[in-house]
Each structure stands twice: as structure tokens, then as C-alpha cells.
């Protein structure tokens, strides 16, 4: 066969492998997530179907396929059916440029290169991922709009506003890495890290955290899973979906998580490169797999640890914290690259900003807690054991108790006690 034919055959086979692998990874991510979250909560998790519950994803898939697929009477049916398909199509497509290994693991001939362990090495690689994954918002908005349900529409609107707000920061947060790498190609970025002898996390700690936070918000994972805030919006845009149509949205969410983890591993942690062990067959892939698995675990860990944040906090955080910080990061990195300074200059700067940001957050949280504790004291007299432990009252409780607090302020002023109104 000619080289061109081999090239096409390789592309088709690799695409099929990628789709099957992503679907399997999705199925087992659901199991791993349930097991890990169960461990976090001192439960066992699903362990009945097969040893350690390994057949649970299979059982879930079969159950989902044979559920009744409801088409609500008020839904606009074509859009309603297209929305899950768009979501999963976008999620699968974005994976095309993720490199699981170097361009020449099997040799340097044209046929060997056609079988390189990535589907395409585009010279606009990272831009391709950003642009394709930003199409994901269409699936969600169309799903919410077409359902003919208030909760779905509100969930979709929230999700759209959230995703577009964090997308701005994603582009700017990656600008720092791109300045160091000087290329958009994913393979090229990994090779630039080998060439410069560092992982870009060392030069771009701030960029890493900005991108990681924005990516979590972009894939709608906890603590940014506002579209699915069940106590407010039932299941958000998913409310009217059932069976396999619902599974497609879950599939898209997990595949997007895998892609985001791959981008983190490739751009900031050197991708597949393993130095001297690069030549060992399979070793670079396993090394890469470990990195991606670690970030996937962090996704689950965050979901188990952090409570969902409020919508106004979410929007303020995206525009007023992430966006200015990513502009600052891009400017400082540009200065470092333009003046030819060493990578540790921007690395130290990033660390300093991170320390300051965490410090400011800590002090503000302490001040808020102190003010609320003072209010609680004014309301209830001497702080009781629960309050003095440091449990901050939520703002809704504070609003309700303000009139009482004012009364208490007067009586406290009469007795000459210090008065604090938070």
C-alpha cells in the first residue's frame, strides 16, 4: 500500500481506539469516583457486581439503555435530541491533539510516524482544544432551552454564563506557557520542556493554578457545579433527560475531565517524557497515564472536600480574581521572556502571588468569621460551645437576626461593652 493509504488506515484505527478508550475510561471513572468518594465518606461504595464492583459500569450501561427514553410534550424535539449528541461529539473531538507519546516511538519512517500515539499533531494544537471545548456550551444551552422546563432553562443559563466567564481566564492563563514554549503544538510544547530542561509548572506555578481552577469551572465539576445545584434547580439542564440521553451528558462531562487532565499533564508536567527511559516500550505511556490519573483523582478529591460555592461568588471570582491575575501573570511572563531572564524569576513571582492570594483569603475569612461570631454573641449572650468553636453563621441567618442584634447593641452600649457590628 502507498504511504497515503497507510496514513488514512492509521488515522481511522487510531480514532476508533481513541473513542473506545475514552468510553471505557468514562465508564471506569464513574466506578472509581463512586468508590473513592465512598472511601472519603467512610462507606464502601458499589462492590457487588463482580470483584471490587468491576462490572458495575457494565450493569449501569445496560440499565440506562433499557430505561424508558422520555420525550417531554413541551420539548422542541429535534433540538432536545441533538443536544446530548452535540455534547458528546464535542468532548470526543477535542481529544484529537492530545499526545500520549512522542512522534517517533516506532521509528522514523513515514509509516511508523503515521502510527504515532496521537491522532493529529496540529500546529495550532492547544488552540484547537480551547476552541472545540468551548463549543460544549452549545450542548448544555440547547438542552436547557429545548426541555420546556423552568429548571432546565435556568440551569442552562447559569451554566452558559459560568463557562464563558471562565473561558476568558483559560486563554490568558495559558499565554504564559505559550511564551516559554514558543509553539501551540502539544508535541512541540512537550519538546520545549525537554529542550529547556524544566517542567513548565516550575516557571508557571500561577498559570497552572489559574488554568486548573478555570478548567474545573469549565467542565462544571464541584465546587463549580452550579448548573446541577440540586437544592435550587433539581438537576439543572439534565432534569428532563432520561436513559442513554442522560448518559451522553455524563459521558461528555467525564471525557472533558480527562481532556483537561491531559492538558494539565502535557503543558505543565512534561507530558510523556521520561528522560533516559524514553526508549523503553510502554514506559512513557505509563508515566503519562500516572500523571493524568493523578489529576483525575484531584478532581474527585475536590468534589469530596469542597462545598459548592454560591453563584454570585462564582461570577465575582471569575471576573475579579482569575481574570486580573491571569493578565498579571501574562505580563510578568512576557517581561521574563522578553528580557531573556531565567525561568525561576517568573516561578518565584508566581509562588509569591499564590502565597499573597492565600494569605488575603485567609485573613478575610477570619475577619468575616470573627464579625459573625461577635454578632452571634450579641444575639445569644455569651457564646455557647458551638459558636466559639468558630462555626460562621451563613449570611442568611445574619440578615434574619439583624433587628435582634440592633437591640442587643443598645443594651451592650449601656453596659459599656465593646460593640462590633459586622
Amino acid at each position: 500500500m502507498s504511504d497515503l493509504a497507510w496514513f488514512l488506515v492509521a488515522a481511522v484505527v487510531k480514532s476508533i481506539i481513541a473513542i473506545v478508550a475514552l468510553l471505557t475510561a468514562f465508564a471506569y471513572m464513574t466506578l472509581i469516583e463512586r468508590r473513592v468518594i465512598a472511601r472519603f465518606q467512610r462507606r464502601v461504595g458499589p462492590n457487588r457486581a463482580g470483584p471490587f464492583g468491576v462490572f458495575q459500569p457494565l450493569a449501569d450501561a445496560i440499565k440506562m439503555a433499557f430505561k424508558e427514553h422520555i420525550l417531554p410534550a413541551k420539548a422542541s424535539s429535534f433540538v432536545f435530541l441533538m443536544a446530548p449528541a452535540i455534547s458528546v461529539f464535542v468532548a470526543l473531538t477535542a481529544f484529537a491533539v492530545v499526545p500520549l507519546g512522542g512522534p517517533t516511538p516506532w521509528g522514523t519512517s513515514a509509516i511508523a510516524r503515521a502510527w504515532a500515539p496521537y491522532i493529529a499533531d496540529l500546529n495550532v494544537g492547544i488552540l484547537y482544544i480551547l476552541s472545540i471545548s468551548s463549543l460544549a456550551v452549545y450542548g448544555i444551552v440547547l438542552a436547557g432551552w429545548s426541555s420546556g422546563n423552568h429548571y432546565s432553562l435556568l440551569g442552562a443559563l447559569r451554566s452558559a454564563a459560568q463557562m464563558v466567564s471562565y473561558e476568558v481566564s483559560i486563554g490568558l492563563a495559558l499565554a504564559g506557557v505559550l511564551m516559554f514554549a514558543g509553539t501551540l503544538s502539544m508535541v512541540g510544547i512537550v519538546e520545549a520542556q525537554v529542550h529547556q530542561g524544566i517542567w513548565f509548572i516550575l516557571a508557571q506555578p500561577l498559570g497552572f493554578f489559574l488554568y486548573a481552577i478555570a478548567a474545573i469551572a469549565e467542565v462544571n465539576r464541584a465546587p463549580f457545579d452550579l448548573p446541577e445545584a440540586e437544592q435550587e434547580l433539581v438537576a439543572g439542564y439534565l432534569t428532563e433527560f432520561s436513559g442513554l440521553r442522560w448518559s451522553l451528558f455524563q459521558m461528555a462531562e467525564y471525557i472533558n475531565m480527562i481532556t483537561a487532565s491531559s492538558v494539565l499533564a502535557t503543558l505543565f508536567f512534561g507530558g510523556w517524557t521520561l528522560g533516559a527511559l524514553n526508549g523503553v516500550l510502554g514506559a512513557p505511556f505509563i508515566w503519562y497515564f500516572i500523571k493524568v490519573a493523578f489529576f483525575l483523582f484531584v478532581f474527585i478529591w475536590l468534589r469530596a472536600t469542597l462545598p459548592r460555592i454560591r453563584y454570585d461568588q462564582l461570577m465575582r471570582f471569575g471576573w475579579q480574581v482569575l481574570l486580573p491575575l491571569s493578565v498579571v501573570n501574562a505580563l510578568v511572563t512576557a517581561a521574563v521572556v522578553a528580557f531573556g531572564l531565567s525561568w525561576w524569576v517568573s516561578g518565584l513571582f508566581g509562588l509569591a502571588v499564590l502565597v499573597i492570594a492565600v494569605g488575603v483569603y485567609y485573613l478575610r475569612a477570619r475577619r468575616r468569621t470573627a464579625g459573625q461570631m461577635e454578632l452571634a454573641r450579641l444575639d445569644f449572650g455569651t457564646p455557647n460551645a458551638t459558636v466559639s468553636v468558630g462555626v460562621a453563621l451563613p449570611s442568611s441567618v445574619r440578615l434574619v437576626s439583624l433587628p435582634a442584634a440592633n437591640g442587643a447593641v443598645d443594651s451592650a452600649a449601656e453596659k459599656g461593652e465593646p460593640v462590633v457590628v459586622g
Binding site: A11, I19, H69, L71, K74, L92, H150, L244, V327, G340
Partner: protein, 117 residues
């Protein structure tokens, strides 16, 4: 542009997969629709007003801000790639660019576009 062909092939296969699953949903599973089952989920109460009514203008503001800032952020990327070659000239351009980015950000911030009640 031969390197785009494999990506297009993946796109085509992903599209086929998505459509196949959506078609399968018509075949698989029982079909026993009732009036209640097809009604919009409203936590058990009768629907009071139709959805797809007007929604808060804040979402529109956010959408417009996104278009402005995302186009600007996308324009930074070519500059970022060439930063090593452009040296100080590139830095100056980026500073001008960041200035243009930050002034509207401060303006909409002061106007309260990021304050959600």
C-alpha cells in the same frame, strides 16, 4: 493541510457514534407515555406559566463581556508565541494590549456588571 485529516476523521466517527446512540434511544427501552410523564417536571405541582419567557438581562451582559474579553484574550496568543523573537518590542505591545484590556474591565467592574444578587 494533511495533518488535519486525522482530526476530521475522528470528528466524523464521533459524530457517527453520537447519532447512533441517539437513534438507539428510539429503539431501546419501553414506550409507555402518559400525560403526567410527559409534563414538565415541576416538583409535583401544576405548571403555572410557560417556560422560555424572558430571562434576566445580566446573562446578556455577561455574554457581551465574554465576546469582548475572549476576542482580546485570543489575540494575545499569537503575540505570546512570538514573544521570544519580538523581545522588548513584544513586551511593549503586550503592555498596550493589557492596558486596553484592563480599562474596560475596571469600567464594567465599577458599573457593577460583576455584582449578582
Amino acid at each position: 493541510m494533511p495533518e488535519y485529516v486525522p482530526a476530521l476523521i475522528l470528528m466524523g466517527l464521533a459524530f457517527l457514534f453520537a447519532v447512533a446512540v441517539m437513534l438507539a434511544t428510539f429503539v431501546l427501552g419501553p414506550k409507555r407515555p402518559t400525560h403526567e410523564k410527559l409534563a414538565p417536571y415541576e416538583c409535583g405541582i401544576e405548571e403555572v406559566e410557560a417556560p422560555r419567557q424572558r430571562f434576566p438581562v445580566k446573562y446578556l451582559v455577561t455574554g457581551m463581556l465574554f465576546i469582548i474579553f475572549d476576542v482580546e484574550a485570543a489575540s494575545v496568543i499569537p503575540l505570546a508565541i512570538l514573544m521570544r523573537q519580538l523581545k522588548v518590542m513584544g513586551l511593549v505591545e503586550l503592555l498596550i494590549f493589557a492596558f486596553i484590556l484592563i480599562v474596560p474591565l475596571v469600567y464594567v467592574w465599577r458599573k457593577g456588571a460583576f455584582t449578582w444578587e
